[in-house]
């Protein structure tokens, strides 16, 4: 089984989010970049398929050379090979088209992408790859078992979950649940050394246009100070929620 894990290179959750050039560009100054958390759950599940079922795992990212440390980290965690599509990620749709091209050229059986990235939160790349490559698609996937080409999976739905079956080729939008937080791996020294020897291919992009364009960013207006209510006078809280906030 050939697995492709899509890795988004995103600012760490604790990063301060600022914009430059008249609030039109994300300011990467002083920002620490990490593997998108939803992708990391998928990558770790891919490691399970590698170790238990002999799968070959390639990681891929669409971006400039500055994203290579994130791909190297994925190699250090245990992926066999990496591909960087050498272009600026314009929007979700254009990234999906670049990735779909990688999928078609590499003939992957399973594509794992996070359900959404924590930067632009588009939540569209996995589904679009599936649509573009005519593969089956399971979003919000929280459990995945594969036997030959048969797939059993669990999808999170609003208010619960459902069990589904399908066949390869398959794309999933993955998230926590594919593996648990405690299963995530920190690269060890041997992994980091080995990652240096693994192939990281720079692929030329295909010609695509952006279907959507970020024209400006805004930061939320700072919120007012909290109103504290004494634990001995909860009627005040009910009064505030009813008359001031008007939410009960």
């Amino acid at each position: 089984m050939k697995i492709l894990v899509c890795i988004s290179h995103v600012p760490d959750t604790t990063s301060k989010i600022n914009f430059s050039e008249g609030d039109t560009k994300f300011d990467t100054n002083g920002v620490q970049f990490v593997i998108n958390p939803n992708d990391e759950f998928g990558l770790t599940r891919a490691m399970w398929f590698k170790e238990k079922q002999g799968a070959h795992v390639t990681v891929v990212n669409v971006g400039g050379a500055e994203t290579e440390p994130t791909l190297r980290k994925a190699l250090a965690i245990g992926a066999d090979a990496a591909i960087r599509v050498n272009t600026v990620a314009l929007d979700g749709f254009s990234v999906a088209k670049q990735l779909a091209n990688v999928v078609k050229e590499g003939g992957y059986d399973l594509v794992i992408a996070g359900r959404e990235s924590i930067d632009y939160n588009g939540g569209m790349v996995p589904g679009m790859i599936a649509g573009l490559t005519h593969a089956n698609f399971i979003n919000n996937c929280i459990n995945l078992e594969i036997d030959g080409t048969s797939v059993k999976a669990t999808r999170e739905i609003d208010g619960g979950k459902e069990t589904v079956s399908t066949v390869l080729p398959l794309v999933i939008g993955g998230q926590k649940g594919l593996v648990e937080e405690s299963d995530l791996r920190i690269p060890n020294m041997r992994g980091i050394m080995m990652a240096r020897q693994k192939p990281l291919t720079v692929a030329e992009p295909i010609d695509v246009s952006a279907e959507t364009t970020s024209v400006k960013f805004e930061k939320p207006t700072p919120k007012g100070a909290i109103k504290l209510v004494s634990a001995d006078n909860l009627d005040d809280l009910i009064n505030l929620l009813h008359n001031e906030a008007k939410v009960i």
């Binding site: 959750t13 079956s165 970020s214 805004e218 930061k219 009627d235 929620l241």
Partner: protein, 319 residues
Amino acid sequence: MSVLVYTESEQGTFKKVALEVASYAKAIANQLGTTVTAVTINVDDASALGNYGVDKVLNVSNAQLQSFNANGYAEAIKQAVEKEAAKVVVVSSSADSKYLAPLLAVGLNAGYASNVIEAPSSTSPFTVKRTAFTNKAFEMSQINTDIKIIGVSNNSFGLVENSGNASAEDFSPSISDSGVTVESVDKATDKVTIADADIVVSAGRGLKGPENWGMVEELADVLGAATACSKPVSDLGWRPHSEHVGQTGKPVASNLYIAIGISGAIQHLAGINASKVKVVINTDAEAPFFKAADYGVVGDAFEVVPQLIEKLKAFKAQQ
């Protein structure tokens, strides 16, 4: 060239988000000087849509679409878009709509903006405001394609009544076999879901153990709220994963979010920040949540929550 809206249902009845996306579609139709057409799939009675600005309803009844499947539903909506020559398609941010929207975007070669929170600021160029960076910023996104898909963030636009009557017709799209088969569904039908809830009551490790969740559920019952929990609580197995809210869990965008014994880690706040009003109850006055909330009570949850339940019951009885 009407605006087309997919009005979601469950067991033949509209979900709350269906009426919200209809309201949103009406706002765009007004901007564009056109009408709203809704697509329903296996809905028993679609007449409610007329009250939210829908002019025409295409009713799809199809046994192949009895349980949700993203491909089949996307196919049905795509054919409705083509029939109506619609240029704008509106969907919700439910799990199902987020599942089908990217497939629909590929099928229509349409630009798709998700998590949109306001009516377009401009229709030429077509520009919408959406949340990004996990609620730490807003992005003004311009959709460049001929057909545009908008995913409206739940509970952001609200319901806008427009008294009127919608005409209805049956619509029979051709649906191919779904590649994904639903084997079983595990869903509590008697509980408000986090996605649909106006109020969410959430608790963290401050509650000390799963045996203490009775008061959380009781508070939620009194308020008609959904229950949720922090990540450590779901990791410890005190509560099911489906209740975990935060960056790697479910997003919350309720009117009121009550956090009990949750310190307010940045990952948690990122997931719940879209809620309009936040209340924190915590013994530790230094907990980061106090900086993010609107109202706070410094106190022991085991004393505060039971009292709050009693007072809310009295308040509700008066209403």
